[in-house]
């Protein structure tokens, strides 16, 4: 009967396919999984530095771009070997809880406030982030917050706290989105928002948005790297992961980071030597 032939054929195809599908998990060149942030991924930094590392070591780096909060959770569950994120306090807590081996500073960039060119809160050209937030709240000018527990979101909340304001109201929009989608949304509203400079520089759909406030020390954005603790998760590729971390903070890795530019602008500033960072 024709139908039986189909069933048998399908069964054979299934076993072949299952075998083919499972194969990459067991037989492939060495790779590590790095949970990182949307800002590093979307800025294109990894496309620039990873090929250099992969060529040198033969280790493939698979990057999953998540918000910092989600990336830390991925590490906690043991689903990544290395974390490359930017929320120092949360990172140190992660290590203190025994989820990570050690946190090392890698690089920094800074946050900027972007907003519509017509500047309803009148903050353009300023360099005081806290004063700018106070002016935005005063004017009740639309402000788009990431609202996703990311490093950028945490930095923004710290600034609100410094300004003595608990932002709420119709003008304060919590999006629960990554940096790029937040910029897309802010461009449409239009609204003020806080972005890391790297994502902003590489972002192409700016609409009426431009930089309104920059240069405040409190807008400093430090990135750190952590090896997930192999004592917690024995499958963690500690050796290859450590090799990646060592390379990032080495002279070669630092130089690779510093040489990444978009339109002649450097996006990230290596500072692995700065032990307090």
């Amino acid at each position: 009967m024709a139908f039986l032939k189909h069933i048998i054929g399908a069964g054979t195809a299934l076993s072949l396919m299952a075998a083919a599908a499972l194969q990459p998990a067991v037989a492939q060149d060495e790779f590590i999984t790095v949970a990182s942030t949307t800002s590093t991924e979307q800025s294109g930094l990894f496309d620039h530095i990873l090929p250099i590392f992969e060529e040198k070591t033969g280790i493939e780096v698979r990057v999953i771009a998540q918000g910092t909060g989600q990336a830390l959770e991925t590490g906690r569950r043991g689903d990544a070997d290395v974390l490359f994120v930017h929320a120092k306090a949360a990172e140190e807590e992660f290590v203190a809880e025994g989820h990570g081996v050690e946190r090392e500073p890698v690089m920094y960039n800074d946050f900027v406030f972007v907003g519509p060119g017509d500047d309803p809160a009148g903050i353009k050209g300023g360099s005081d982030a806290v004063a700018a937030l106070q002016a935005i709240a005063e004017a009740e000018a639309p402000f788009a917050s990431r609202g996703d527990d990311s490093g950028t979101h945490k930095a923004e909340l710290n600034l609100w706290e410094a300004a003595g304001i608990e932002p709420s109201g119709d003008w304060y929009r919590e999006l629960g989105q990554g940096m790029g989608p937040t910029l897309n949304t802010a461009a449409q509203m239009p609204a003020y928002t806080m972005s890391d400079r790297a994502t902003w520089i590489s972002f192409q759909n700016r609409g009426p948005l431009e930089i309104v406030v920059e240069g405040d020390d409190r807008l400093f954005n430090q990135y750190g790297v952590i090896l997930v603790n192999p004592e917690r998760h024995e499958h963690v590729k500690a050796e290859a992961g450590q090799q990646f971390i060592d390379w990032l903070v080495s002279g070669e890795g630092q130089q690779a980071i510093g040489s990444y530019e978009i339109d002649g602008q450097q996006l990230f500033f290596p500072n692995a030597q700065d032990e307090g960072a």
């Binding site: 139908f3 396919m17 499972l22 990459p24 998990a25 949307t38 979307q42 496309d47 759909n205």
Partner: protein, 233 residues
């Protein structure tokens, strides 16, 4: 950014034979078609069996499957994520953030669609065939392959519904695949990434390519279905 720009981008991508694009398209097709295949393998017989079987609680099972057709992809993705995570029950298989994980998530997502729609098609067919098949001595179980084969033209539409859902889906594959460049990046996750980067022309260009692919698959199914139907009645 405008529609024309996106169209030009799409054409350029296709004409230039962009290797990364080819890889992304290849992975999308591999993941989606594998998931559809697995879903059909399970869902067609299960849907037909559900159409014919009479047991207490059958109505409840039908309602559950109908509801699961609306399962939000992120929920399916999250469930598969938690299952495949190193801290989850299937962690030792090391499947998270692999194409296999994406196939599993999409299979979970579209199997209820295949089951529910198959049940509906086969139930109608069974109403027409039941007396005749029973008269010939067929049990309900024995009728399953007969009905699936006789309903094949309607079932193609069922399969296409599953395919469409899988092709268009981004939430589940993003969570369990991780959108890793060159490894688990598919058409839809690439579109999501380019949108996040603000490169809307590229995102829309990829969208046009995805839609064209879906169109091509559907057209192929439609034409071959028509030809087969003309010869098989």
């Amino acid at each position: 950014m405008d529609g024309q720009g996106a169209f030009v981008t799409a054409i350029n991508l296709i004409v230039s034979g962009d290797a990364a694009l080819a890889e992304i398209v290849g992975l999308s097709l591999r993941v989606t078609l594998s998931a559809v295949f697995l879903s059909c393998l399970v869902g067609l017989p299960a849907g037909a069996a559900l159409a014919l079987a009479r047991f207490p609680g059958r109505g409840g099972v039908i309602v559950v499957f109908n509801s699961l057709m609306g399962l939000p992809p992120v929920v399916a993705g999250l469930v598969v994520y938690l299952t495949l995570s190193r801290s989850g029950p299937l962690g030792p298989l090391a499947l998270l953030f692999t194409p296999t994980a994406m196939i599993i998530a999409q299979t979970v997502l579209i199997t209820p669609i295949i089951v529910s729609l198959t049940r509906s098609v086969i139930e109608d067919l069974w109403r027409e065939y039941e007396d005749q098949l029973r008269s010939l001595g067929s049990s309900a179980l024995r009728a399953v392959p007969t009905l699936l084969w006789d309903g094949r033209f309607s079932l193609v539409t069922v399969v296409l519904a599953g395919l469409g859902r899988a092709m268009a889906e981004v939430g589940a594959v993003l969570i369990v695949g991780g959108n890793i460049a060159g490894h688990t990046r598919t058409m839809t996750t690439a579109i999501a990434l380019e949108t996040a980067r603000g490169d809307l022309a590229l995102a829309l260009g990829l969208g046009i390519i995805l839609l064209s692919l879906t169109l091509l698959l559907n057209a192929g199914a439609f034409v071959s279905g028509r030809v087969a139907q003309r010869t098989a009645g």
